[in-house]
Amino acid sequence: MNLALAGIAAIAVAGAVLAVSGRDPRAIVLGLLVVLLAAPLISSPWPGPLPILARIAAALLATRLLVIGLRGETGESGGTGIGWPAEALVAAAAAVAGFGSHGLGAAGLGPPEAQAAGFALAAIAIAPLLIGRDALRLGVGAVLLLQAATLVREALDGAATDAEHLVLAVLTIAVCGAVAVVTTAARAAGGLGMIDEGATDRRRRGRQPDAHRPTERERDRERDVEGERGRRRRAVSPDQASAE
């Protein structure tokens, strides 16, 4: 076992545990930043300076996008239902399984620590991704699962090429940007929690409510309707006043 890599893997897993168990959005983003910065370093040999710089820049930009999406958020994310110690234990168990099964049936070309970290991240990412009820928590699951996949890929196939690091950097920005978009949309609708009117009543049948952004024409029509209502109210008020 390479102790340096094991240490970095432990830091990445700790960041992931913080991200999935935290309730304060700032703590969650901090946890994700730790994961995104540490994950590219669980590699043997280490990537060159340029790929590392690209991954660091991508991690900073990605978390910046998340922060923009959460700016001014005072509410809390759902957090874990089982507590951080349990999440940490799940991650540890998965890491042991990943380390022990290095290569998944054939000789792995990368470090076993990467597979251990990948398994750990995947184990704690599944629940938020599949049953997360708020946008940020689901996004955390998505970011962690993709990082887990790239770590396992590293363990199986060996060090990524420089171009692969560049594409992974783009993927990091894309997934965090997508999460930021969804959190922004959720907050604009009232909070981090996501609403699915169609799913609130399982017995409900028929068409799901439309979720499109209203077009200019629909806005104009709405304004016309509002204006007409206002005119009617104004027209009715004097009569009511005289009646009184």
């Binding site: 049936g105 699951g141 990524a160 690091h165 894309a174 940007g177 949309a185 009232g190 609403i195 499109h212």
Partner: protein, 583 residues
Amino acid sequence: MTVIPFLVAAAAAGTASLLARTHRGLSTSIAVFGLIVMIATATAIGPAASIEIGGSRLAASEWLRLYAILGSLVGLLLVLVDVTALHEPDAPGVIVLGIGAAVLALALSDPGVAVVAATAGGLAGVLVAAPVGAAARAAFVGAREIRALTIAGTLSILATAWLARPLGDLVAAPAVFGAAYLAFAAAVAIRFGAIPFHLWAARVADAAPGVALPLLMAWGPAAFAAVALVWIDQSVAPLVLPFGAERALIAAVGAVSILLGLVAAWIQDDLEHVVGYTIVADAGFAVLGLAVLDPAIWEPTRVWLLVFVVARSALAAWVVAIHGGFGTRRLPELSGWARRAPGLGVALAAIAIATIGWPGLAAWEARATIGTLALPSLLAGLVTIAPVASLAIYGRILAVGLEPVGQTVKVGRGERPSWPTPMPSRPMVGLTGVERTFEKAGHAAGGALDLAWTVPAGIRRNRMGLASIAVLVLGVLAVAVAAGGLGVPAAARAVPAIVEPGPGQPTEPSEPAGSPSASDEASPAPSDGGSGEASPAAGSPGASGSPEASGPLGPSPGSSAPAGSPAGESPGTPGGSAEPSAR
């Protein structure tokens, strides 16, 4: 020329368009300019051009070139239709970035990197799937899309990684290969929204603008499917394992998507949902293509991918034009639409022809071949003729259009040309011929100025007609592609000049997959000093690494494909790396 200029244009224009998103007109102008540049650069791509960057090779092919040209052209027409109809924010920039990411994925010769690029491109679409200012449910829709894309990306990354190295002891556990094969096929099915993975795709049609639907559900996933096709050819087929259960499962998903997708599209009242489910149905053929390990599947699947993405883009553009013109997408509210927009009626007929076709048409033959290769004969026949049932879908829409004009359509825009102001008439007061000549010239200049001054208002007034023209162009393009025009069959048949070695190739265990040395092994004759253009010899599959398939199970019996046959002349040798004859 390599794909680099195309990718640079797409990245620059897409990013700039999104950065300028608060100025909608500027943002759209940047995207339109970018798409024009992308068409030009795509046309200049050399089919055998390749370049190595950072240890990964970006290689072009005939099919990639056609995909890039059609993607940019269709993207441009979609944006133009959207501008004249609804002018959705963000959609133009996302279309540019999405097409760029798809071409990047197709150009990367290592499927392991290509799936990462395809996933990143798909995630860019979330920007339009969960727009700020939409209903509260849009966030839920966007979250579902992220979930689907993440799971598909993870499955494909793991599958490609699992089989991208010397397989050694894995030979003792053939189930591993089946699991990897199934994982990648499931990833493709999820990306397409194939049944039973269709829920996220159905929700996307609730929130994403119609103009972005083709990118989210067709163009991006089609590139993903093309990468899967290459990967299966390089990494799964050379194993010479039967994969009976896995192939049956994949074929079942494909067949069910085709049949139930059409039924679902038929019962929808919302036209965007009709687009979504017809995409699901058409995508079923792409999924079916993954269930076949015969090299003969290469050409029909790649033909069908191009046919269906162009045809469904045309249908989406048609819906956007209808929505923009009449202010609704609900079919029951669109009585008499064809009477007020006959051009769109003709376009719908063209789209129907392109998607249904008839025996002998390239699209029909592609579907028939896929069905025959993937399914037992009875089911194959059923699946092949199933798209004829789309006649009921198009017939229903047309029947509503021929009804008496309803209130919603009556107050809509209509296609009839008109001009915002009457042409001013200037009385002639000159007496002599010279005076009248000068006066006429002055009137002509004044009239031209009057006309020029009202052109923007004239465009706004006639936007329904202009949208119809753009949709009609898309419909004609779809018919051309479906008929095998624009060199579609030849491009689908052509073998990529540059490919990465699959797991069947002997590789040094100490070398990471995709390392520069591995790429060099797959590289063709030396390039001409940095231009990135491969020499003509690179077109030969025999130059793409080992000519003989020697997978982990040993050399394949029945290897018959001649090594070194020229690209494009060996329809049975797609992928090239593992010489599909290994199957």
